[in-house]
């Protein structure tokens, strides 16, 4: 289980996070190339993200920094937030 730093609370997958609330990224798991890609797009521990929209069950639009990113759900599963 991935724990949120310092709180002892379990972190949550971004794919499960409700829309609208800003959340802080705890860490990103998954295949190396994917993690790297997400990092370069600004999804990095400590960054603030919020889910803007969901396209069905598969995809998710989120906001990080000043940009909107569209993510496949497999990727959003690997982003752990608090």
């Amino acid at each position: 289980m991935i724990m949120a730093k310092g709180t002892g609370m379990p972190a949550m997958r971004l794919s499960r996070a409700g829309a609208g609330f800003p959340r802080r990224i705890e860490r990103i798991t998954g295949p190396e190339a994917q993690v790297k890609r997400l990092t370069e797009l600004g999804l990095v521990s400590g960054a603030e993200v919020s889910v803007l929209a969901r396209g069905g069950t598969d995809t998710i639009v989120l906001k990080v920094g000043g940009s909107r990113l569209a993510l496949a759900s497999g990727m959003a599963d690997n982003v752990w937030v608090k």
Binding site: I28, Q34, T39, L52, G55, D58, T59, V64, L69, M75
Partner: protein, 837 residues
């Protein structure tokens, strides 16, 4: 002052392209679609007597070489050593943009920054302390507004200043202790001879990249010991911190950046709700998103096809006029190969391609507009789920849609796909999206073989077969040749904007220009070759004596005319009418032989008119004059009727009205009924029959000539090969011709079947097809046309876009094979079970 080379770097959507345009004034792609600037572009700028060469690097998020763009950018910075790198920063998204900046600082290049779209950022409540920023970055930071051209002078000044100074000391990013140790360890092992990268990069930098597991550098290492050690270090670091070292390092960079931003940037987080978010709530809505997208696409296609129609007609007419103009340079009767080459080969060939230009311009205009607004990225997002199921990427969808229009721009449209596997797969299945040039083939064949009730269904079936092949093909390719992770969908959605007219037009113009260039080069060359193949070698002696055949037809015709003349009492044994007809045929001969301006024509016309006067003015000639006038009258009426009803549907109200007008006009011809019946018989039976028989002879002659030509011979040679598909040498010949452009198939069939100028509306060709082939064979012709390669232009573009002959050759072989096998199976199966025989 020497010329200063400036490399322009930046994230996709950072406004890099608009800054580039503002700096150079050069026309260039502008768009919201991430990755639109894939090619390296250059421009020139002047400022205070100094000259600048500005190189537009591909837009990237990092320099870590995980995409071809990143490799291109990095190699340029290292190998070409530009005097200064100007990075364009999107002021609204500073932290992520600075990630690239930090990587460039690590590379040790001289830098200046353009803080772009600072006006937008300010409106969003973001404030910058430029002095502090510039102090942290150890480089000048100039605020710019790219699309208004603001700040470019200051930017050039800053670039010139930096270029003239030595490389400064940048702030060192503090990596965690373990990472630093590991880098030092690798650095110690480097000897300067560690593969092609070692000599080009400083050791420290190289060591850090090796630890990061760089895709380009690690495989190129000669010393496998270094690679092994790096792997060991990576594993131990990962075990220690739970993260890959490159992620740890990335976090350290972000850490430094956010430290800087917290000092130099102030945000007042009030205007959180942006317009883009509101629009996205509708356009990306789970329920509404897809229908809205489909409706939009429908509107685009509708617009493209309806608006393109009139200009297409103009182009067609213009090329027709140009052709006759060119033909007029020679005496009409002259048998000049050069004239044939110019009129049929060059003008005909290029005209046939340029006629699609309005379609292409409009389609690209629509797409450039949608791209400019930022909607295209959303469309890819909406389609990703569906496309993912067939092993493709959401971004493959737009090119596939374009494929229904023309495969050539569709292949160019695959540039937006970052992953090479995705891109190659998309290019490979694109030709199965039945392109517009194949439509004439279906339009010819379907009505020839199938009852009207089935027409729409057959057309639908053909398109669906194409889609099914594309879907199955993509799946198969993705699980075999192009195995590997399809990059899961992650894409930046740019903010919605109203694109500037100039940006849309330039983007459209660039692409349309590429199409025109192709028409002017490859397609022109190929049409000349194919034309020569169907025109040469000339047959010196024909199997049949066509001159004698024509004489026989003329003799029979004259007898029939004389008989009618006798019946109507026009001269002794119809001599008046016969002589009149002879004069007319003679005049027709003159028309064939001379242009109107030539003296032979004038002379012939004079003789003809004198003859008519003499015939009409002789005793009893008045009746002949009446006959001739009625004939001319009817001729005129038919022509007027044809003009009026052009494009009208038979049985429609306007059509019926025109019919009524014609009937009334005919009834108004006031001559003796017996004579009028004679005129009608002359026109409908005698003259029409004569024309038909002469036409048959002309066509048979042309057919014999074609059989003798190179393509005819190749067709005959290939007959045993194409037989299993149910084809004969004629179809084989047409298939060869259709490689220039698919729609040439129809014209070629027309030539082999000797029906003169054939188009898809050609009923006589349809009769011939129906008489010679079974519906099964007809279907096989369509199937082969659908599945085989679209045309030579596709191959040329595929070569250019993939940068080698491997894929194009694979396409030629693969598509021919698939089409051959599939068509053979259908034909053999069909004949065995007696379907469509």
């Amino acid at each position: 002052m020497p010329n200063i080379v400036v490399a322009l770097a930046g994230n996709p959507n950072s406004g890099k392209t608009t800054v580039f345009n503002a700096l150079t004034g050069l026309r260039q792609h502008v768009g919201n679609y991430p990755g639109v600037t894939v090619e390296k572009k250059e421009g020139a700028a002047r400022r205070n007597g100094g000259t600048f060469t500005i190189v537009d690097l591909p837009g990237t998020y990092s320099l870590s070489a995980s995409s071809p763009e990143e490799v291109v950018a990095r190699n340029f910075l290292v190998d070409e050593k530009p005097d200064v790198v100007v990075q364009v920063l999107d002021a609204s998204n500073l932290e992520r943009n600075l990630y690239l900046a930090v990587q460039m600082m690590e590379l040790g290049v001289k830098m200046a920054f353009a803080l772009n779209m600072s006006d937008v950022a300010k409106a969003r409540g973001i404030e910058f302390d430029l002095d502090k920023l510039s102090g942290f970055l150890k480089a000048p930071v100039v605020p710019t507004v790219g699309n208004k051209g603001q700040g470019t002078d200051a930017l050039l000044d800053a670039a010139a200043r930096v270029a003239g100074e030595p490389v400064g000391e940048y702030e060192k990013i503090k990596y965690p202790h373990g990472v630093r140790e590991a880098i030092e360890r690798i650095e110690c092992m480097l000897t300067g001879k560690d593969g092609e990268y070692a000599a080009r990069f400083p050791d420290k930098w190289l060591a850090a990249r090796i630890l990061e597991g760089d895709n380009e550098i690690v495989p190129a290492l000669c010393n496998r010991e270094v690679a092994k050690e790096a792997l060991r270090l990576r594993e131990s670091l990962e075990a220690e911190s739970g993260d890959f070292p490159e992620i740890t390092m990335a976090e350290a960079r972000y850490g430094w950046i956010s430290g800087m931003c917290s000092e130099a940037v102030r945000m007042t987080p009030e205007s959180r709700h942006e317009v883009s978010d509101t629009i996205d709530r509708v356009l990306l809505n789970r329920v509404l998103g897809l229908p809205i997208f489909l409706i939009l696409m429908y509107i685009v296609f509708q617009l493209v096809f309806t608006l393109a129609e009139p200009p297409m007609e103009w182009i067609e007419n213009a090329f027709g006029a140009l052709g006759s103009r060119a033909a007029g340079l020679w005496p009409k009767a002259a048998d000049s190969p050069l004239r044939e080459l110019l009129v049929d080969g060059i003008i005909g060939g290029v005209g046939g391609v340029l006629v699609f230009l309005p379609n292409i311009i409009l389609l690209f205009l629509a797409i450039a507009f949608l791209e400019g607004t930022g909607y295209m990225a959303r469309a890819a997002f909406l389609m990703d789920r569906l496309m993912h199921k067939i092993g493709l990427h959401g971004k493959s969808f737009i090119p596939m849609l374009l494929g229904f229009g023309c495969t050539v721009p569709a292949i160019m449209g695959t540039r937006t796909l970052e992953n090479r596997q995705d891109r190659l797969t998309t290019i490979l299945v694109l030709p199965w999206m039945s392109c517009g040039a194949r439509l004439p083939i279906y339009a010819l064949i379907i009505p020839a073989f199938f009852p009207e009730a089935l027409h729409a269904w057959m057309l639908w079936l053909i398109y669906v077969i194409g889609i099914v092949f594309a879907v199955v093909g993509a799946r198969l390719l993705r699980t075999s040749v192009f195995k590997g992770d399809s990059v899961p969908f992650v894409m930046e959605l740019p903010p919605y904007r109203i694109p500037t007219l100039r940006a849309v037009i330039t983007l459209m113009w660039d692409r349309a220009g590429e199409y025109v260039k192709k028409a002017g080069t490859i397609i022109l060359g190929v049409s000349i070759v194919l034309w020569a193949m169907t025109a040469y070698p000339k047959k010196p002696e024909f199997d049949r004596d066509y001159a004698a055949a024509r004489e026989a037809v003329v003799a029979g015709h004259m007898d029939a005319v004389a008989e009618l003349g006798t019946e109507l009492g026009l001269g002794q044994e119809g001599s008046f009418l016969r002589e009149w007809e002879e004069a007319k045929l003679e005049m027709a001969g003159v028309r064939d032989e001379y242009w109107e301006k030539e003296s032979g024509y004038v002379e012939g016309e004079r003789v003809y008119e004198a003859k008519l006067e003499q015939l009409f003015n002789q005793p009893g000639g008045a009746r002949l004059r009446e006959f001739a006038d009625a004939d001319a009258n009817l001729e005129e009426m038919e022509a007027a009727f044809a003009e009026e009803t052009e494009g009208l549907e038979e049985g429609s109200r306007e059509y019926r009205e025109a019919e009524r007008r014609r009937e009334a006009a005919i009834a108004a011809i006031a001559i003796e009924p017996g004579l009028f019946a004679g005129v009608a018989a002359y026109r409908d039976d005698i003259a029409a029959g004569y024309g038909e028989r002469m036409g048959e002879i002309d066509n048979a002659e042309a057919g014999e000539e074609l059989a003798h030509s190179i393509s005819g011979r190749i067709g005959k040679f290939l007959e045993p090969v194409v037989r299993p598909m149910g084809f004969d040498w004629r179809i084989a010949t047409a298939i060869i011709g259709s490689f220039a452009a698919k729609e040439v198939f129809v014209a070629q069939m027309g030539i082999v079947y000797s029906v003169g100028e054939a188009d898809e509306e050609s009923d006589s060709l349809r009769d011939k097809l129906c008489g010679n082939y079974t519906p099964l064979q007809g279907f096989c012709m369509m199937l082969y046309s659908l599945l085989s390669l679209p045309c030579v232009a596709t191959i040329a573009v595929a070569r250019r876009e993939t940068g080698g002959w491997k894929l194009p050759i694979a396409m030629i072989v693969g598509f021919t094979l698939v089409a051959y096998v599939a068509t053979t199976i259908v034909y053999q199966f069909g004949s065995a079970f007696g379907i469509g025989m």
